[in-house]
Amino acid sequence: MSNSGYAHPDALVDTDWVAQHLSDPEVRIVESNEDPLLYASGHIPGAIQIDWVTDLNDQIRRDYLDRKSFETLMSKHGISNNTKVVFYGDKNNWWACYAFWVFQLFGHTNAAIMNGGRLKWVEEQRPVTKEVPHYAASTYQAQERSDYKVRAFRDQVLGHVNAHLPLIDVRSPGEFKGELTHMPDYPQEGALRAGHIPGAKSIPWSKAAQSDGTFKSPEDLKGLYEQDNGFSPSQNIVTYCRIGERSAHTWFVLTYLLGYPNVRNYDGSWTEWGNSVGVPIEK
């Protein structure tokens, strides 16, 4: 499918494009997965791995890496300020979109998602390798992490709720209805209270994806968010899920595929909101 109908077609590449740029020194292919085993089991030749836990998050505080750490990460993988970074991964590109989003906090705008992710590449029987590439260290100068444009914090979301501004809850209907808080022995992604942020509309992330993991067409996406749910590009929208990865997928769809200029991802998401004292919750 052509990318031409999307608002920012440069932010989406297909598997053919990636196959043609495997040796392009101006391009770095980045795999970001939920499953830590997948990259080691075989990946796109030349692709590096950026892990959402160990690479993108601060290892002490609940926050992302800082400017210096981001520069170190980029340098380690030979990524310069001009490198086009193309993300792909498992689970319909959840973590690829999440990594893309973190890169935007540091202003790396020359970035794209490979439509269909890892599964599409494998199902097309394209080459994979277990060889981990090593690139010569680069010099990278990042901007200070910019948390105001694409990221929302809890108190901002509270203000958003009080102002009756729109939110999209992209979790499963069961999570939205408050039927599930966390699983046994996994309290770190759980919450003491279940439900959703008042006023949020439930549009599970998966509704933006086709069965093969690629994004739906521009027309179908407009139908989903605008005709079916009444959203419009002029709105100030906050997306959230449980830890911010699924909502990064919807953030990407709204921002880059539909061209909404004012969408923020609330990465604290339900693991913060559902554990916070005194915040309003609906069931």
Binding site: P36, T54, V122, D185, Y186, E189
Partner: protein
């Protein structure tokens, strides 16, 4: 976290292998196990697999099946329909290697933190839910099979 001594004896060796292991070593061992995965034999189950054997919340589309073992224990099998379900296959192979033919009480004694111990704390809740769901459904069917054995 459960102490290793709380694990069924036949699982302790493999659990110890994952103690203090680095992430590279962990991935190597788990991938090796996933390559040893054998799907449920056709005499036990065939596609389309019955929904009541499907692991809830497992996006690797895993299924669990059991049969009585002639020695009074439980034989069990898995199907993993997601071609990228390497973690589910690794867990299935480890459980089969260590617990095949065990009695229901032994299978039910597997602590919930087996998923953490094998896959590390990097694993997300979604992934952990699915893997733990495999263990929970195995326990459920082991108990059911044992009850049926006793009633015969």
């Amino acid at each position: 976290m459960a102490d290793i001594s709380e694990y069924p004896e036949t699982l302790r060796d493999v659990m110890e292998m994952f103690e203090n292991i680095d992430e590279h070593g962990r991935a190597e061992i788990l991938l090796d196990y996933s390559s040893q995965f054998h799907e449920v034999p056709s005499y036990i189950a065939q596609r389309p697999f019955p929904e009541d054997h499907r692991v809830q919340r497992c996006e690797s589309e895993a299924y669990v099946f059991t049969e009585p073992n002639p020695n009074g224990g439980i034989n069990f099998y898995f199907a993993v329909e997601n071609p990228q379900g390497v973690s589910a296959k690794a867990l299935a192979a480890i459980l089969q290697e260590s617990l095949m033919g065990a009695n229901a009480a032994t299978i039910k004694a597997v602590p919930h933190d087996i998923v953490f111990r094998l896959f590390g704390k990097r694993i997300s809740m979604g992934k952990g839910e699915g893997l733990l769901g495999m263990v929970s459904l195995l326990k459920y069917f082991a108990e059911l099979t044992e009850k049926e054995q006793k009633s015969e």
